[in-house]
Amino acid sequence: MTGDPRPYAVMAEFADADALRRAAADLAPRRLGRIEAFSPFPVEGLAARLGTRDRKVPAATLIGGIVGAVCGFAMQAATNLDYPLWIGGRPLVAVPAFMLITFELAVLGAVLAGIGTMLIANRLPRFHHPLFEVEAFRRASDDRFFLAVLPGADFDRDAVGKALAALDPEAIYDVPAEPAA
């Protein structure tokens, strides 16, 4: 509870996933700032409740798959037309023979695009982050659950603190905006 007027976030710690779920449901509709939750494992429906769920990854996977398939097929058709091998009058663009590589490249495109989008949209890798300055946050990957309120335009530290305290957390932390020197 330092006097810093604009922390990176104010964060509450909870002991289990249900408490975090309840807290998120309670806080999400109130206009306190952007809310983010942290848990050691995926908690079903949490992102949807916080309104941060998006469909970038599935969309990228689909597009990547289509691009991969088109490129795969086009590559095979183009190389066969570029250097024609006439074998017993068989078609140069032999669709059944091209399907396997088309499929493999569709898979490759889909997976690379999906995972790449996941990392980019999540802004990873990012090796330093203000949250890592909070010692207790180390348990976010072990057995503790955190709810952070990130200051918006009209940030009221006391209102946020009171709202978090009302959720009966284990502890409340101020996350400093700049890493402590």
């Binding site: 916080l50 941060t52 095979q76 999540n122 890798p125 990957s141």
Partner: protein, 437 residues
Amino acid sequence: MTARGAEDRVTREIVGIPPHFPARRMWWVLFAVALALLTLFFVSIAWLFGHGPGVWGNNIPVAWGFPISNYIWWLGIGHAGTLISAMLLLLGQQWRNSLNRFAEAMTLFAVVCAGLYPILHLGRPWRFYWMAPYFNTMSIWPQFKSPLTWDFFAVLTYLIVSTLFWYIGIIPDLAAARDRLKKRRWRLFFGLGALGWRGSATHWSRWNQSYRLTAAIAVPLVVSVHSEISLLFAAGPVPGWFSTVFPPYFVVGAAFSGFAVVAMLTVWLRAMLGLHNLVTARHLSMLGCMTLATGMMTAYGYVAEAFFAAYAGGRELQTLLDRFHGPYAWSYWGAVILNFVPIQALWWRRVRQAPVPLFLIGLSAAIGMWLERYMLLMSSLSRDWLESSAGLFHASFWDWGLFAGSIGLFLTLFLLFIRFLPIMSAFEIKEVEGGGG
């Protein structure tokens, strides 16, 4: 409060393995053996590069020999890791969480062993990039209508996809290790691997989407990769190969050998690292069931293969009879006996839950499947259409040296993995226990 204790215990047990490795002496003994075999691997490759493929038993008509048969064996073993991880994830089988991480690591290392074989088999391995389509001064392209080119794309895709699938699966556990361990070098090591993972709900949501989508794509990928490998055989008009049963026959055989090896690794790791809390009798039993099921499917493949050969008659029938009592009959009957007799004991739960019998049955199936790949390759190639071109294959010292060396490569990589990385999916086990789903 009990749930919290359980979560912390899971993290401690799994993430605590690298810094407080329980069986250091055993690990060093095994690692020394693995390194000795790895040395043999490099010596065999050096000898091969110096003297050419003539150091092997390969010759016309059996030009494929050990490299291709071992290639198929290794790749088949790899497939079970993907199936355990991806298929059982999609089916919501939570018992997979104790097994999927090291099964996927097994996949990666088996694919590495497999992928090196066709390259070494090229004769001029330094020109392996000729398989890739690139603009060159000769203005020629790979033959895209050939299974050999399909192979290049299939295996490369499989290697990349299984590496990424394994890696995004391990990121949250690397973060747990980073946050839990005190020593700076461990924190740096895991911190770099974890990419700064923080476990926010938004991150998890996107992670979940990409993990599940990759899993859903990986299952048909496995089927396509091993089907494609079977086409190396089935697309050629060679007696004993030219059969439509080959793709499914190869895929289930691959899964069978893979589940057998996963069962062996599970029994070994459980005993060596004392993981009895996390790998229970139920896990062993499920692995036994999977091995039995895929084994019986493979048995069906044997029956179908024999039936179609008898139905076709002529040269196909001749090859079948060759397999029964020709020069390679030992490999045929060895495969039949080692693959299908011991697994019958797995019908009994008591056997499935007993570590030592399960390990021995897995070993038997792994050897049996090796014999099967050997038999399929040698018996058909050694005697096809022209009697005058018949000729037997005899493995040389360097064939065996490279094969033993590839096992050394696998063991070295696997031992390094269990020594330095979280070998189980701690966060998914916690998710089940802590009510995340």
